[in-house]
Symmetry: C2
Subunit: 242 residues, 2 copies
């Protein structure tokens, strides 16, 4: 089901990984990052559509996306699904459900992907000779709390066009910080997944993409997006209801 590959001695470690500025080492001093190299002992390769973990699976690690992208989703007792995030390289998934030691969500690859396995026991072990490790892990978890709080603001107070604009701008910014184009990228998720994530239907998402394109804000061809008028998109968020 999953391909687990041990990290070869000469393979990339945290200290040499291109994602250091956004992943686990974010904000750490270079000298400290060196001590992270034994943190990841294993990686998992996932084909598109494969599950990294799912509801009720025991939780003993979190995962840093190395390449590709994932979605994380909750499933309630009636089978209703809610996507809680789309995750690009450098982002950490699996940080919910630690209270009871089992996952309360599922993580699924949107494309062929690979993640670094960060075992919690390794985190604790590394922390013994790298005191800032604890603080670092708190910062990573805090980042996820902040992210989901901001999503709450989006779902709670924005209308459909604002949500989709915010979604595009958010992706744009994240791709930019990975060194990719901030104006031209490929959506790895379907209209239905975007709609689920944003609390909209797939039809509304599709209509909005069409409208944004008609108004010259973006150019969209299937899942290829080009942002044409970034300021106008930003303006959609700010000064609308006041």
């Amino acid at each position: 089901m999953q391909k687990r590959v041990p990290v070869a001695p000469d393979a990339a470690h945290c200290s040499t990984c291109m994602l250091g500025h956004v992943c686990v080492p974010v904000g750490m001093a270079a000298a400290e990052v060196e001590k992270l190299d034994e943190l990841v002992k294993e990686r998992v390769r996932l084909e598109k559509g494969k599950m990294l973990y799912s509801l009720d699976h025991p939780l003993d690690a979190v995962y840093g996306v190395r390449f590709g992208s994932l979605k994380t989703q909750l499933e309630d007792s009636t089978g209703q699904i809610q996507i809680t995030g789309f995750h690009l390289p450098g982002e950490i998934v699996g940080m919910d459900g630690m209270l009871d030691g089992k996952h309360v969500s599922a993580a699924i690859a949107l494309e062929d992907s690979e993640v670094c396995v960060i075992r919690l026991t390794e985190v604790d072990r590394v922390a013994t000779h790298l005191p800032s490790m604890q603080q670092q892990f708190r910062r990573l978890m805090s980042r996820e709390i902040t992210r989901s709080h901001q999503m709450l603001a989006s779902l709670g107070s924005m209308r459909s066009e604002q949500r989709l604009a915010a979604f595009l701008l958010n992706l744009s910014q994240r791709y930019a910080s990975l060194g990719y184009s901030s104006t031209e990228f490929v959506l790895r998720m379907s209209r239905e997944e975007i709609g689920n994530f944003l609390g909209l239907t797939l039809e509304t998402v599709s209509r909005l993409f069409s409208r944004f394109a008609r108004e010259g804000l973006i150019k969209i061809n299937q899942r290829e997006v080009r942002i044409l008028d970034l300021p106008a998109l930003k303006q959609l968020l700010g000064h609308e209801g006041c």
Copy 2:
């Protein structure tokens, strides 16, 4: 602005606090909880409406609610506010914004309240002779991640009556785990605050309360709530759209 009171030597510590089963010590062995007693060196007393921390304030501690209740809220560039949570005794606030070391939200007392100050430096110090402290702190942060993800599901996929029912059931359960009545309690927040939190207007909230009362699900008098038909409220959540 705030009253900061040092914890007297004979005052209640974590090991003797009635909230142990839901607060920082949640799930820890009794022998370990004893070592938490030096974690909290200070408490803050807040009058109704006072701010515990606000946007951009430096973050060096998190706070456990000792009595009373708080709301936490984001504020965007246009002044638009989104309430991200209501917090009862035993719950921890202030765990966002650690990435940049300053708060990205504000916490405000809904009634006269008191919180325990948990300095991050103390967390780290306690962890040196209580190895499970790290794990414990991760679990607390994970609880907040899970909570906000579930809120996302509520805002993303439920209709107004379901959101309000879920809100009432959630409060009911939290009061129950504090040893209070699960069927009779006082809402500490206004209709407007409930609406903001649930992504609804205050009028919709008011109408729904009236309707629930008319249908015999609850009895409501201003902010006093009595739940009359718990099963029916639960049924509102489950089997609606399928």
